[in-house]
Subunit: 457 residues, 3 copies
């Protein structure tokens, strides 16, 4: 019996595992393209014969759902699909947790798309088969990132030290969040070019700097050349190398190896943007873009000029095509078909569960600050108790959506005292978090006076 | 060529046939769970290789549709699906009757869900392949009942003399109607605990008492202990045994072997209920619930506390899982794959067509009293002439939705007279029914005076 | 590597190819009906094993989508489906062109239904696998026509010189347009019986007369007997035979071999018709209908009396059933499974690309006069530059929807002059069309005065 594995974040996969996925995907791709096969029909393999994939989609999709189903067919398996919330049990008011428990009895793997951040993580808590996140709110879309990186490899890029510019809605786009984590881990340099008001969330910046070995290049170093760049991250070769690098050494290469364009994620915003960057031939005429691979997760809605479709730099349709072999590889490895390459020795992925987890259930307890987090859904929230990881002395991370909270107070269930210094009680069971001293006091806790005195002494 | 079989009611299957389905389902279940198979993927069989199942769903569903499709895949067959009325020919105004005739040419079996009572029966009149009812309005949901009974067996219950309490919306829930018929036929005792205003329809009570060998326990016998019980039925061991039993002998066992909970069927009601029973640990703390199997057809929307999910009595997720092997068995038997166990010698099921059928088509003729019956659908009704079975001297049953009519007058097409005594004309073709003397007179019939005189004499 | 073939119009197939499709379909049909097979399950073949069909449906459908999927299953292949625009990428604003390019990487054949005329043709411009039109707006529905003709053959009709009456919405019904082109090419005689205000579009009439070898029978010849007939076309045995036939020789046979009924296409019209012809037993009581095959593409919504369902002339349910073997044959031939019968030597179909194509992209250029043409869709139009074929000296045809334009002016990009005589510049690249002299002048062109002078001289 192998360990149950889920892929709800790109960080659930180690770099080695991603490399293995690329290797297996490459094999499948060669098979699909075999010129000896008649009439361009890909030769299906039979690795997944007898296996069933369930696609549970609570948000519109064509590409992702069909590419998963195609991958399953090409592997010799089958799919069952719930593509429309309005015609599914969700219309009757069924929770994701219940749906997932039931579907675990039908299918051998679940692929889930949901409008709420953290939905896939919640699903993985209740599933008895592997859960793959096919996009959860504005959180992550890890299989898209696998396609993106694989595309760059196929386009001949060296992921390490590669310069990648990312343009558009960096706040609402889940593909971007998975992508930058992966870029950082593979050692790429990242230039963020957000649309106005759609900057990368603060907690993603924090992770790049504090967990993913990136250092921000001071604005003065690049401002002149790249007025539209909001932030530039260089990936250090070694952890803690950052402090060793002098300002003079920072020379971001001018050549842009890849430009990743993303659409305005209208489903995540209330209104329409006043302006949104459009990438066209004029934008790309500068010499630094002469060998740039153009990527886009698609669909596009105007931000990427269709006149570029015949440009040799346009890689986005190849990128979409790679979705099939990449997902074949992921399915195959998660279900253990390629026995020697199965994803079974996983010990927590890139980001091992090194942080302590705190579960809150009492009234007034701290709630995730992300309003779109699954915990705030009236129905789903009942199945999702508040859970946090302490990722730094003054920083809590929501277990589901991975948003961070920097402002909170720690209290002790036993002593009924709270500390504004985030001092943790010794016994994990005694820990409880509140949003502020006021909410702690409202819940019957008082400030830990003794320690304050000690500090004053 | 075997006889065409449909399953639109649980009563289309004999008790022996249901036992055979359980036996075949048990074999499939062992196969699905075979620990020698890699990575928990069920070993598919190839019984249905080359066969196609069509799921025609006019109402939301995830569980039922996906479990049928999964069953078909596990049998080696394929499915075609029309899951959304808005994107199907129904949006263009096509009738169920026409859809079914066309789909009969595509698929080898049709599974139908529809908001109207009696829709599956109507479909079966036009299909040239087996029709399985996956829920028609508030009428029946026979395959759910097969899962329910199979679950109770797997939980170690003896269906005979078992005490089953049923809580919730007993009027709108089709699963309940199929369930109580089956319970009565297997010899279980039934405690009805309806939400206020959602009592079991009168015609279901009537069938339990008059056709299904049940006798109602006088209220005084159980009222004290079970204030929330609306009616209690004991199943007699032999037909007509009822009159032999003295009041003193009636001792409903106190232990509840199974508690069946059902949600408020919001799609069958105009408003929301003011109160609705919730089953939680507090409710189940009484000793009589200590070995109760908790069942729920799912989805649940609050009436079954999620805190019970880890309770050993909770059987509802296993119940959902059994949907696959049960449906595999039913498909296999209906299509005659398990040759020695095929459902081909069927002579009318449990309730043989022993009642005479009357078809009405002239203006003013009696119409089914159930407003949600398929005959009242503006489009479908054109394909559904009024048809009744005379199930008792003063009782007509709608052929489609199986609602009963106790108030009507019988008229004679030849003599143009009607009788309020429900006296039937000798020649079946002369029979015509009216709702009242007034409607009969409006249609040009007059009271049968001679007979009245005879009565006066 | 065989040439990529699409079927967006019935005219993409030669008569010989259609005959081959019928022959292959007949073989499949015998297989499906083989009485030695158990329990009426059609024996699936394995021709398409490993192949994937994608159904991309932007309009409601049950019959067409399910018959394609069934055909693929019976061939041993698989399908992936996007049946609901609201749950697909289209909901996010993705263009058909992009969707088709992506889906070409998943599937081996695309089947497309779309509310816009010409959508399938647009799709075929971007697909790298065969595209089959499953209905595009009011334009064409070629696979339905294959079923229709095959049905007539199976009903024992000789397509040549057969008399076919066509009743209903001849303007909005795409099935009718494909059907009349095919009838004309097979040598049938066509009686048009449109609902009032729903006459056949003028450009279809024009094609029948000018490209499809038909001649219109003068109204006086048939008016007396067939008051409801709007137009009657006889197909000449040889091209240019028309002028050789004297009025006296025209004797349309009175017997109607087939009556094709079609519903009011409500999705193509703003309101409801005041009257619409209904075909019932009364209508068909005349002797000339005694051996008429009744056809209807279904769904029907009242225009074909259900009382006819048991009439021996009713062929419409058999017609629906033939959808499976016909589509099996088409798929098989397009994908080249029946190697000796593959559709690969196609040189442009019945209507070879003998007309010159002009592409317009500058401002003010002539636009297709059909408001429902795909070029007028705000999103799709960006991918569909105005393209016309010059089919006669004063007649342009839209490349996508095949509507004709008779009023336009030709201009010369080089000389910046335009001609109201539709005189074409020598160099194809210099040609540009305008709707009127005014729009040409607004775009900076002036009338070609010199030639006028020459004409005056």
């Amino acid at each position: 019996m192998h360990e149950l594995r889920h892929v709800t974040s790109i960080n659930d996969l180690t770099v080695d595992e991603i490399e293995t996925i690329f290797s297996v995907a490459g094999d499948y791709l060669r098979n699909l393209r075999d010129p000896n096969l008649p009439h361009r029909i890909g030769r299906s393999v039979t690795d997944a014969s007898g296996a069933i994939l369930a696609t549970l989609f609570y948000e519109p999709s064509t590409r992702t759902r069909l590419s998963f189903e195609t991958a399953m067919i090409r592997l010799g398996g089958k799919s069952i699909s719930s593509a429309d919330p309005a015609t599914s049990s969700a219309a009757k008011g069924e929770s994701l947790a219940d749906t997932v428990r039931v579907a675990s009895n039908y299918a051998d793997m679940l692929v889930i798309r949901h409008p709420r951040d953290g939905a896939a993580k919640l699903a993985s808590c209740y599933a008895s088969v592997p859960v793959v996140n096919a996009g959860d709110g504005a959180h992550e879309h890890p299989t898209q990132t696998l396609c993106d990186l694989f595309t760059l490899r196929q386009e001949g890029k060296n992921l390490k030290h590669m310069n990648v510019a990312i343009s558009g809605d960096l706040k609402g786009s889940r593909t971007i969040h998975s992508f930058v984590y992966a870029l950082a881990r593979f050692g790429a340099n990242i230039m963020l070019m957000p649309a106005k008001g759609m900057e990368m969330p603060e907690h993603v910046h924090w992770r790049l700097r504090n967990e993913l070995n990136c250092f921000a290049v001071p604005r003065a170093r690049y401002e002149k050349d790249n007025a539209s760049v909001d932030a530039l991250y260089m990936t250090a070769d070694r952890p803690h190398q950052l402090s060793l690098i002098s300002d003079a050494e920072i020379k971001p290469r001018k050549n842009i190896d890849a430009m990743y364009v993303t659409r305005f994620q209208k489903e995540r915003w209330a209104g329409k943007p006043q302006e949104y960057p459009t990438i066209d031939q004029r934008f790309l005429k500068d010499k630094k873009f002469s060998r740039t691979s153009l990527l886009h997760p698609l669909p596009r809605v105007g931000e990427l000029d269709i006149a570029l479709d015949t440009d040799r730099r346009a890689a986005y349709f190849r990128q979409a095509a790679y979705g099939v072999p990449i997902r074949m590889a992921l399915i195959s490895m998660l279900l253990g078909f390629a026995r020697e390459k199965r994803l079974q020795k996983f010990a927590g992925g890139f980001m091992p569960e090194k942080y302590e987890v705190y579960v809150g259930s009492e009234p007034g307890v701290l709630a995730c600050v992300n309003e779109n987090c699954i915990v705030h859904d009236a129905m789903e929230g009942k199945y999702a108790p508040q859970r946090f990881q302490l990722v730094a002395p003054h920083r809590l991370r929501c277990f589901y959506c991975e948003s961070d909270i920097a402002e909170f107070v720690v209290a002790n269930r036993k002593t009924r005292h709270f500390s504004i210094d985030a001092e943790m009680p010794r016994n994990e069971r005694d820990v409880v978090f509140f949003a502020s001293p006021e909410t702690a006091m409202a819940a019957g806790y008082s400030a830990a006076k003794r320690r304050r005195k000690a500090a004053n002494a």
